[in-house]
């Protein structure tokens, strides 16, 4: 088990290294450059050269690449060109928002997926399961921008119950947590609706499969109650695909979705990545890519670990 995890970690670190390198060179080879984002599109060549010299962008590319790793080794991610702030602190201020947003959404959709999946497995083939199936099919195909737009249209514009975008109420001097929570409702609902469908689909299938197995029949025959079988045995065995899918979605908890965050003007990491990519703010962009890469690796490893705990046989596959 441990050797497998070490091996996987080593090969995935290599992938992350290649990924960061590729993105570094792709970003730096893109025409234009951050000087134009700072000075505007009509900047003179002389002022552009001056900014490039100040940012170290006039150095050979390989040297810049070396400097980037050298700084990383000293725990520094550099400064944002555009906002003139240390990347670490900048990322953290956006990361916090994404973390709150997505942990709420993923927690909700996991709970909902377990409920829906159990219902689907128990009533397989009958109308409650068909109803859930139709819901899953619909939201599986629903594009996020459409779901988000419809929610805003109904609950923010037509009914006026909830704020449509941002995270604070600009009209009040001390918006407080209540305003933040209100601003979270629509984005969290959007992501929950969109993620519950794939999560519950696989889980429901697994529950149905487990319920047909011999150990369930044996347990029933010796008089174990149905609910006890369901929660003590079936749930545990059926959780494996759900855990794998959650592990795969782990990076999203930190990076968020560019589209959902941009619809709601939600200042999270996805939104920051989109903006820094557009403005060619390389230090921010590459730091985010590094984080995504690392989180993908960690998410995969966590899923393997938890699955190994749920079913020790899995680790020998």
């Amino acid at each position: 088990m441990i050797s497998m995890i070490l091996r996987r970690a080593a090969s995935s670190s290599l992938s992350v290294f290649v990924l960061v390198t590729l993105v570094f060179f792709m970003a730096h080879l893109t025409p234009g450059g951050p000087a134009y984002s700072i000075l505007g599109q009509k900047a003179t060549l002389a002022s552009v050269a001056q900014v490039n010299a100040r940012l170290g962008l006039d150095q050979p590319l390989l040297k810049q690449y070396g400097i980037w790793w050298w700084h990383l080794a000293h725990g520094q991610l550099g400064y944002s060109y555009l906002l003139n702030r240390p990347v670490g602190a900048l990322l953290w201020s956006y990361e916090r928002n994404t973390l709150v947003f997505y942990s709420a959404a993923i927690t909700l959709s996991t709970a909902l997926a377990i409920l829906l999946g159990l219902a689907q497995g128990v009533w397989f083939g009958r109308w409650p399961a068909r109803l859930i199936g139709a819901f899953q099919l619909g939201f599986y195909a629903a594009p996020p921008f459409f779901v988000a737009a419809m929610l805003v249209l109904w609950f923010a514009v037509q009914l006026g119950w909830l704020p449509a975008s941002g995270i604070t109420d600009l009209r009040s001097a001390h918006p407080g947590l209540g305003a933040y929570a209100a601003h979270l409702v629509l984005p969290v609902t959007t992501v929950t609706l969109l993620t519950v469908s794939p999560l519950s689909r696989y889980f429901g299938e697994a529950v149905h499969e487990e319920l047909g197995k011999d150990y369930v029949r044996t347990a029933r025959a010796k008089g174990v109650g149905f609910l006890r079988i369901l929660f003590a045995h079936v749930l545990r065995n059926a959780l494996r695909p759900l855990v794998t899918m959650l592990g795969l979605s782990f990076p999203y908890i930190f990076t968020g979705g560019v589209i959902v965050e941009s619809v709601f003007n939600y200042p999270g990491l996805g939104w920051l990545m989109w903006r820094s990519a557009l403005a060619q703010d390389y230090p921010v962009l590459i730091a985010i890519v590094l984080i995504i890469g690392l989180l993908t690796v960690i998410g995969n490893l966590l899923a393997d670990l938890v699955n190994g705990l749920l079913d020790p046989r899995a680790s020998y596959e």
Partner: protein
């Protein structure tokens, strides 16, 4: 899965309807999508404008139809390109000797991990965005999934006796691929090709929604949604529902058709 019966028929019908709306209807509906009627800006649906007008007073029905055409003429060739690239790469890796297969798969892992947004931004800065470059860009980022699938299928099939027999009889790799493998994995290819059409429509709409897809003055379903969202406070439901439902319908049609085919062939096997 306990999908409702007849989902294949529903998927094909919905898909056909959307293709007709996007590829044929723009030539039948006479109104000019780019003609401005400032006096009638932002009007709800009426007899004169069946789907209302946008904030510039353009006929929304004409815009939605033109947007469908613009979306489909990019998304369909892009899906075809991604399909061909994925199939070729997958077959290559699947038929290659193990060491080459390992390298090709490692490469694929990196390509799969590249944030597609950054790849797109990179190329969008290098080349001007038009239909041709968008087809190439979308094709470029959407092939790795199919490549992995084809490679795995090919590897799995290669262990089977009839392939071994053909190899022993001296069949070359190209002959093997053409005469045996393609036939065996055809169902997988058709099902995933269907999904890829839906994925391409979604990817292009998402890109256009972010401003990197079909460029103005041309409109697409994604860009129509984006402009409608900018004035959402004015409650323009007639500008949001049609393009949104059409993207949704395209994805649903692809999903239903693919799943339907999967079920039909799964039962036949």
């Amino acid at each position: 899965m306990n999908r409702p019966r007849g989902s294949l028929a529903a998927g094909l019908a919905l898909g056909g309807l959307i293709l007709a709306l996007g590829l044929v209807a723009p030539f039948l509906y006479p109104a000019d999508p780019y003609a401005l009627h400032p006096a009638q800006a932002l009007q709800a649906p009426s007899l004169a404008f069946p789907l209302g007008t946008d904030e510039l007073g353009r006929d929304n029905l004409a815009l939605v139809l033109a947007g469908g055409l613009a979306t489909l003429v990019v998304a369909l060739p892009a899906a075809a390109l991604a399909f061909a690239a994925g199939l070729a790469y997958g077959l290559l890796a699947g038929l290659a000797p193990p060491w080459a297969d390992k390298i090709l798969m490692r490469l694929l892992d990196v390509v799969l991990a590249l944030p597609s947004l950054i790849v797109l931004l990179f190329f969008a800065a290098l080349v001007p965005l038009n239909n041709t470059s968008l087809i190439l860009l979308l094709g470029l980022i959407s092939w790795p999934g199919l490549a992995r699938l084809v490679r795995n299928e090919t590897r799995a099939q290669r262990g089977r006796d009839f392939i071994f027999a053909a190899e022993q009889a001296g069949a070359g790799r190209l002959y093997l691929a053409r005469a045996h493998l393609l036939r065996v994995i055809a169902p997988v290819l058709v099902v995933n090709g269907t999904f890829m059409v839906g994925d391409a429509i979604f990817a292009l709409s998402a890109l256009s929604f972010l401003g990197l897809g079909v460029q103005p003055p041309q409109v697409s379903w994604g860009s129509l949604l984006e402009t409608a969202l900018n004035i959402i406070a004015l409650d323009p439901w007639w500008l949001i529902l049609p393009p949104g439902l059409l993207v949704f319908g395209s994805l649903l049609a692809a999903s239903l058709t693919g799943q339907g085919l999967l079920r039909r062939w799964g039962e036949a096997r």
